[in-house]
Amino acid sequence: MSVTDIRELSAVAAAAEIGAGSLSAGELFSAYRERAAADRVAGPDGLNCFTWVAAGAPLTDVSGPLAGVPLAVKDLFCTEGVPSQSGSRILEGYLPPYTASAVSRLTEAGAALLAKTNQDEFAMGSSNENSAFGPVRNPWDRERVPGGSSGGSAAAVAAGLAPWALGTDTGGSIRQPAALCGIVGLKPTYGAVSRYGMIAFASSLDQAGPLTRDVCDAALLLSHMVGRDARDATSLEFPYAIELPTAERLDGVRLGVPEELTGAGVEPGVLEAFHASIVRAQELGALVSEVRLPHAPHALSAYYVIAPAECSSNLARFDGVRYGMRAEGALELVDMYTRTRHDGFGAEVKRRIMLGTYALSSGYYDAYYGRAQRVRTKIAEDFRSVFGEVDFIVTPTAPTVAFGLGEKTGDPLAMYLNDYCTVPMSLAGIPAISIPCGLSGGLPVGLQIAGPAFCENRLLETAHALELALDFDGTPARV
């Protein structure tokens, strides 16, 4: 097989070929490594997907179910002895002494660590422009953003620089870049995957998940990530094994279209692709109805209190005392803290730390954090009630297609609005998947499907049937 051929294989297919002895794991790794390393070397002339690329194939037990298929991992997953900076200057030169549980589960299952991927600093952003490593470019249009914060993972998979990748999603950071890059991204139920070793953004929202070329790949990767981890008190035993989906029909599957997330604010081209895919779902036998999520319009406001509040505390440990960057020339302790954090954090991170610090301040706690948590409860109740009527909720993943580099960097609120459709599911802790459902102006549009907690197998089946029917062609994105 030529190099181009083996890169055409899905991860599931590649693992099967290696298992059958018709493909060499080492050859597959080399093919991807070569391309990834070239992108790393190209810097701003490439897509800038990676922060680190393996020098060679790691020792991997290819007899495992993941058969040595290379894996790209978002920078914020701690990987022992491998740079892990969460896209921030403040962790310059930091080499963790341990590996995140989600990553070690995958490598134990036979995944081979290929590269660490670029991301928005500390996962704060929707365009991957907030990275100490510079912005990632969208393989569909180099002058556009890949989305964020898992922008490096999404762009790498879309461009064929990695067969699949690990990302994290706090308010849409897997689903939105997957949508903008025309690939599949799954945010699992909160607690399904251990957070141990993920450099935290907002603890009550962060979840690891797969970014893949197709739904089957997402299922395979997820199947080796889930499960209780004694090191993460919020992780849960997944109630059943994740299966590779096979469904081709949606007979009797009830899909709810929430009017709050499918109206104004979503650009026409995106809505058009979304409605076309709903029609395809109906053709497959799905029952589509309108539903209400009355508190969903408040989700973004609540999210931008809760997430900054948690991050203001989570990021306090980056103080220059023990690891990472320490500003030179400090006169005393507070001066050292101030200079280190001033120099080490980017503008968006500082903005959110300040927002969160304010929201938690004595006298403001109830008005901000307390109220945001009450809104969060209402949103979760909305979903519970809707899932009594329908099996899944469908929305566009993002209100727009990929926007231009620099287009929204001067307007944080416009940037935040890109998470409008993904944040409600994050606040409710429920699983949601984004699959490519068409093009608008030559750029991919994502369809989001969300279901109740721990419905991942059914969610994957539904996404799989729709994926087959929509037959999205991701090829133009290959570079």
């Binding site: 997953f77 603890s203 090191r231 306090a316 440990r317 690891y323 610090t357 938690l360 706690y365």
Partner: protein, 490 residues
């Protein structure tokens, strides 16, 4: 926070009353730290008992130590607290080099235990938290400001702590120190902590305010930190009361602030005032689930509890028949109580009378041991002192000879009967032998004998002394006195 107090009346001559509440941090005797699997440190080389969790490395997560919750419940039961069916951990956010995460995981408005009392002092709450690391400041000042360098040892970081907060029910430095001793013996008896103040496993801060005696409001309080012995607690509180009294008597106002007591100089210095007080930005720790307590956990905590000092004192009084003072002493100095009960349990014949046995142990024996020494570690077997007190009670050995036997027991160990035999210390009974010795003593002290006969009771001393010398203290004093009076016909 507090009602204002009219301290204007507290000018010269007005009597002021101290209002004191204590906050006690107790290091719990778990095998591992509060939120990770590191073993607790007892003087290991710096930074050898650490892991990504207690170092606060990026990506690490806390997992609550179930054993610490168990010990916390035992404390709550011992203090008669209400055990919260659901309590939660909060983050207390502030920057300091001994706090690697930039926040301390502690409990805030939903603690593990609420209310209760120990002795006359009400308990406000008991909650769990993690200890900070240890900072060592290099340079002249010994404090972070002005030091040449500061070194952090994370071995202590993450050690489980129970914080016990009292209501402001104490009124004097002595009372505070006495009550803290009671708390310490209670915690030691529970086995939940080493409770060693010098080593920092028991630490105490005091909230202190003054008010005109007889009023019920609360004055402006200060928080006094860093008193690491009972002596320093008394001294520190006394110094702070004096400082506040001087301010109030001078017509000034006490400033709410956190104070540092320097035991070496007895100086009190300000750490921070209310204006500079931290805003800790407490919020529920999202990395941990709420602590839920079920009846099984409470049963398990209760099953692990031995008898508490207050209960023991009551039992020693009501069931063993000790007077209240002895019962309390043996209960609060648990090692004496244990020794006493072991002596009783030896069932020696003749049986010692319990109160007398308690007096011999708490008085004669303790006086012969080093201060604070546990008699169980001495050469005197509990059974041996029981036997000795039994012999004295049966008048087979006089009190004086008994003391000599105890000297021998303390220095060499052994059995009282054998010592009495070998040393010829058996009491000389009321028979012919003693009567003859008394007669000889009367003859030798004729002048004194005359005075006794003449009604001067005090004059009996030289005669008794003579008998005791002759008998090497083996004679029973009461019997000697009776014989003297009999022979003199008075």
């Amino acid at each position: 926070m507090s009602d204002s107090v009219d301290t204007a009346n507290a000018g010269a001559g007005g009597v002021l009353e101290a209002v004191i509440g204590l906050e006690i941090h107790v290091q719990l005797a778990t095998a591992t730290k509060m939120f990770c699997g590191c073993e607790l440190s007892f003087g290991e080389p710096p930074n050898t008992r650490t892991c990504p969790v207690c170092l606060g490395l990026p990506g690490s997560l806390p997992v609550a130590n179930a054993r610490a919750v168990h010990l916390g419940l035992m404390i709550g039961l011992a203090l008669g607290s209400e055990l919260a069916p659901r309590s939660i951990f909060h983050r207390k956010n502030y920057f300091y080099p001994d706090l690697p995460k930039g926040y301390q995981i502690s409990q805030y408005d939903e603690p593990l235990c609420l209310g209760g009392h120990l002795g006359a002092v009400r308990i406000h709450r008991v909650h769990l938290e993690e200890d900070a690391a240890k900072l060592i400041h290099v340079g002249s000042s010994g404090r972070i400001h002005g030091s040449d360098a500061s070194i952090v040892d994370f071995n202590r970081g993450g050690t489980p702590l129970a914080e016990i907060v009292t209501e402001p029910d104490l009124r004097s430095p002595e009372q505070a120190s006495e009550w803290l001793k009671l708390l310490r013996s209670t915690l030691r008896r529970l086995g939940v902590s080493d409770v060693n103040m010098e080593e920092g496993s028991l630490r105490c801060d005091a909230n202190i305010s003054l008010r005109p005696a007889g009023t019920s409001g609360l004055g402006v309080k200060t928080e006094l930190k860093n008193m690491n012995s009972f002596r320093f607690i008394e001294r520190g509180i006394r110094a702070e009361i004096a400082r506040q009294a001087e301010i109030l008597r001078g017509g000034g106002q006490v400033v709410q602030e956190t104070l540092h007591f320097d035991p070496a100089s007895a100086a009190i210095t300000s750490l921070r005032s209310k204006e500079e007080a931290h805003d800790y930005r407490y919020f529920p720790e999202p990395d941990l689930l709420p602590v839920t307590i079920d009846p099984g956990m409470i049963d398990a905590a209760r099953a692990d509890m031995s008898e508490l000092p207050a209960e023991r004192a009551e039992r020693l009084r009501a069931e063993v028949g000790l007077n209240a003072e002895s019962a309390q002493l043996l209960a609060f100095r648990g090692e004496l109580g244990d020794y006493f009960e072991a002596a009783l349990a030896a069932e020696r014949e003749p049986a010692p009378e319990p109160q007398t046995l308690a007096n011999w142990i708490a008085g004669e024996l303790v006086a012969r041991l080093a201060e604070g020494e546990d008699p169980a570690g001495s050469r005197v077997e509990p059974g041996a002192i029981a036997a000795l007190v039994g012999l004295v009670g049966a008048k087979r050995v006089s009190v004086g000879a008994g003391r000599q036997v105890l000297d021998r027991l303390v220095s060499d160990g052994g059995e009282p009967e054998a010592i009495v035999e070998a040393e010829g210390l058996a009491a000389i009974g009321g028979g012919e032998d003693l009567a003859a010795i008394v007669a000889a003593a009367l003859q030798a002290n004729a002048e004194a004998a005359e005075r006794v006969r003449g009604g001067n009771a005090k004059a009996i001393g030289p005669i008794v002394g003579h008998v005791m010398r002759e008998t090497k203290g083996r004679a029973d004093g009461t019997e000697v006195s009776r014989l003297i009076h009999e022979q003199l016909g008075v």
